[in-house]
């Protein structure tokens, strides 16, 4: 089982990194021929950085759009961040100071993550228009994330998985040496779900994460009168004249 998981993790990580890189490269290489920021838009690059930061950190537009969705999303994403950082302890030896510091928060963030996800899913199930636009994969994605959160919490608070062994496995994994992994169904489930998440990331709506940085309505400066904006394929039209 340890070997299998090691291979799965290598494959999924590879898929995640290469797939994501590929995707980002296509976004970066696709021209944005016209200036289309949604106004009121910043006039300077600094302003754009600020706007983007507010979007990424505080979900500013979502806040304007719908308070409930915003609250659930912030709760979920914030918790996810804490939880993910907390998991660095499984990959570092000795554990970095700040990782150790957030450890207690990271543990409880599992609960808020689950709650946020639950709220989002409830919206999808019970709000008519959100149900209308949901696909099967939208539901499954939430179920997958909830499964990861729930199984993680269970290992921490109920079955008490041997985390020292788990850490040994991942430290070994990092150095290409296979170490034994505790043979527990719940751990296997947790890890398999994470593998699945990594693997589907570059092919799914999770692309919203890199996508936002490339969204012309948000990342462009509002200065079309001051600076001529020309893409390569558009410039060619002029030389053909």
């Amino acid at each position: 089982m340890s070997l299998l998981f090691a291979i799965l993790f290598y494959a999924a990580t590879l898929l995640f990194v290469v797939g994501l890189f590929q995707r980002i490269r296509t976004y970066a290489n696709t021209p944005a021929p016209l200036k289309i920021p949604t106004t009121p838009a910043p006039i300077t690059t600094g302003g754009v950085v600020l706007r983007m930061t507010r979007e990424v950190v505080f979900f500013e537009s979502l806040f304007k759009a719908n308070l409930w969705t915003w609250a659930m999303s912030i709760m979920f994403h914030g918790s996810l961040l804490l939880v993910a950082l907390r998991h660095l302890r499984y990959f570092t030896d000795p554990v970095w100071g700040w990782v150790a510091m957030i450890q207690p928060f990271g543990t409880y963030a599992g609960f808020t993550m689950l709650a946020g996800l639950g709220g989002l899913w409830a919206r999808r199930l019970f709000v008519e228009r959100i149900r209308y636009i949901s696909t099967l994969s939208d539901h499954l994605m939430l179920v997958l994330l909830m499964g990861i959160a729930a199984s993680g919490l269970m290992m921490k608070f109920i079955t008490h998985t041997d985390v020292v062994a788990v850490k040994g496995f991942f430290l070994g994994w990092l150095h290409l040496s296979i170490q034994p992994l505790p043979a527990e169904a719940i751990l296997a489930f947790h890890l398999l779900s994470v593998v699945a998440l990594l693997a589907i990331f570059p092919f799914s709506k999770l692309l919203h994460a890199p996508g936002i940085f490339f969204s012309p309505t948000r990342n462009q400066t509002d200065n079309p009168r001051e600076k001529r904006h020309l893409s390569a394929w558009a410039a060619k039209m002029e030389s053909e004249n």
Partner: protein, 512 residues
């Protein structure tokens, strides 16, 4: 129009219940062969479906490679629904396919099927669909129920702009001979005659002479409406509706009075007598550019120093955001950019190029070169309707949000009674009039009336609460749409007018 009734008002804000299929149908009139071919599109759809199918997918691939917006927007939507209740067409029609995200999904489902791995492998799982004739008809219907107003893009956490998707869809439809009559016909007129209304130069000159007489009768002052004057300082580009439609013409008179009172030499161009650019509505870069090139040409031929744009929403967006890219009207071209330099050397860069007429007037007011008798507007209690393309697509002045402040400042400078409509329905969150984006056609009257509902509800509130009797706006489409639709809601059509109509009422001409 007897069969079109206004929907009932509700207590706003409201999220309406879904009425699936409410706006299903054939969509607006389809452009005929002659109209399409004049723009270089195939006259009609191929008899053989497979041929059309392949052409659609190929065109879609092409656009995905040309527009980062489309590419990112097809991938990034998480179906969060933040945009779902933001579209005036959804609010007014209750058809779920008019939710911005659902409108995008009409295209996204096809994108997923043909351009993504999961869509190829597990279509049902990710909501991917084969492109069928029915799907294409659905595109035609629902992508012609979007006014490209971009309200949805304000609220989407990723800035996903349904207008971009709509434009791509319309471009694809045009590329296979499935274009919309109204927009394509108008573009044909611009190419042939120079303006959207098909007003030939002699008729235009006639109209302007008539206007000079009218203004002389009304004020006793010789206000000129010059055309094709070489060496004038300002070239005015305004929507052709300003030349004779009501109430548009009152704004044109206002611009002329401002130029007169400030002693600015100006001119119109008979060759380039249109600010509107329907190339944007059909999402076609070539059309957008060809139409805009007339303005470049007129500016070069007449040797003007400044280009000023009249009251028109999408025209201002095209002018402000795209003219520099398309034709070089603007500033900041590279030194080796000969195409743009040719024009930019001629223009006077102490001023913004192009400028909106409201920027022009506001500058003059601040320089105290205009004076007003505000009491002339006392019969009006005024509110301001932000036009979508000005509010969300372009700017005025040199600070973010100038497009909201400057028209309001002008109104307050020329009139005493001003009232704001409800928060959340003005400025960048304004509702579209319901007639933008190439939908200002009688065959879409039902949609237009329903799409105006949110604006009408909010207007009613200030009418009831503050006695508002005039809604000023700076868009030719808003003016045309509201004068037609508001009577159906029980308002007087003369309630709508331009900002420069108010300027015209109050401005003091002659010796001060």
């Amino acid at each position: 129009m007897a069969d079109v009734a206004a929907p009932a008002y509700r207590i706003i804000p409201i999220i309406p219940a879904l009425k699936p299929g409410a706006m299903e149908g054939k969509g607006p009139f389809v452009a005929n062969e002659k109209i399409n071919e004049a723009l270089g599109f195939p006259g009609k759809m191929a008899e053989n479906w497979q041929e059309t199918h392949d052409a659609v997918i190929a065109k879609m691939g092409e656009l995905l490679g040309k527009y980062r917006s489309l590419k990112v927007y097809m991938d990034a939507c998480v179906h969060c629904g933040a945009c779902s209740d933001k579209c005036h067409y959804f609010i007014g029609t209750q058809d779920p396919k008019n939710m911005p995200v659902a409108r995008q999904d009409l295209m996204r489902s096809v994108y997923r099927r043909y351009f993504t791995l999961p869509g190829k492998l597990f279509p049902a799982l990710v909501g991917a669909r084969d492109l069928t004739r029915e799907v294409l008809d659905e595109w035609y219907n629902y992508f012609n129920q979007c006014s490209e107003c971009r309200r949805c893009s304000v609220f989407c956490p990723y800035g996903i702009d349904t207008a971009e998707v709509t434009m791509a869809a319309r471009e694809i439809l045009d590329s296979v001979g499935y274009g919309q009559k109204y927009s394509n016909e108008i573009i044909g007129k611009v190419h042939k005659i120079g303006n959207n209304l098909g007003l030939p130069a002699p008729a235009l000159i006639d109209t302007l002479e008539g206007l000079e007489e009218d203004v002389k009768d009304a004020t006793g002052i010789d206000v000129r409406f010059p055309i094709d004057v070489k060496g004038a300082e300002v070239l005015l580009i305004t929507p052709s509706a300003d030349f004779f439609a009501e109430p548009h013409i009152d704004s044109l008179i206002g611009y002329a009075k401002v130029f007169h009172a400030t002693g600015t030499s100006w001119t119109l161009s008979s060759m380039s007598s249109e600010a509107g650019n329907f190339g944007m509505f059909i999402g076609n870069y070539d059309q957008l550019r060809t139409i805009a090139m007339r303005i470049r040409q007129a500016a070069l031929e007449l040797g003007v120093k400044r280009i000023v744009v009249g009251e028109c929403g999408h025209a201002w967006r095209v002018a402000y955001s795209f003219w520099n890219t398309l034709t070089g009207v603007g500033d900041g071209a590279d030194a080796n950019d000969r195409f743009a330099q040719m024009l930019q050397k001629q223009l006077d860069h102490r001023y913004k190029q192009p400028a909106h007429i409201c920027e022009f007037t506001w500058d003059m007011i601040q320089d105290e070169r205009l004076s007003f008798d505000k009491s002339k507007n006392d019969k009006h209690i005024i509110t301001f309707h932000d036009s979508c393309n000005v509010a969300r697509g372009s700017r005025m002045g040199d600070f973010a949000g100038g497009q909201f402040e400057i028209p309001r400042n002008i109104i307050k400078a020329v009139a005493n009674n001003y009232v704001e409509m409800r928060d959340g329905t003005t400025r960048e969150q304004t509702f579209c009039c319901g007639g933008g984006g190439g939908l200002l056609t009688d065959d879409l009257m039902d949609l237009r009336v329903k799409g105006a509902l949110p604006r009408m509800e909010v207007l009613q509130q200030v009418v009831d609460g503050h006695g508002v009797n005039f809604m000023a706006t700076i868009c030719a489409i808003c003016k045309a749409q509201f004068t037609k639709v508001m009577p159906i809601y029980g308002f007087d059509r003369r309630m709508v007018g331009g900002v420069h109509q108010l300027v015209s009422n109050a401005i003091i001409l002659g010796d001060k």
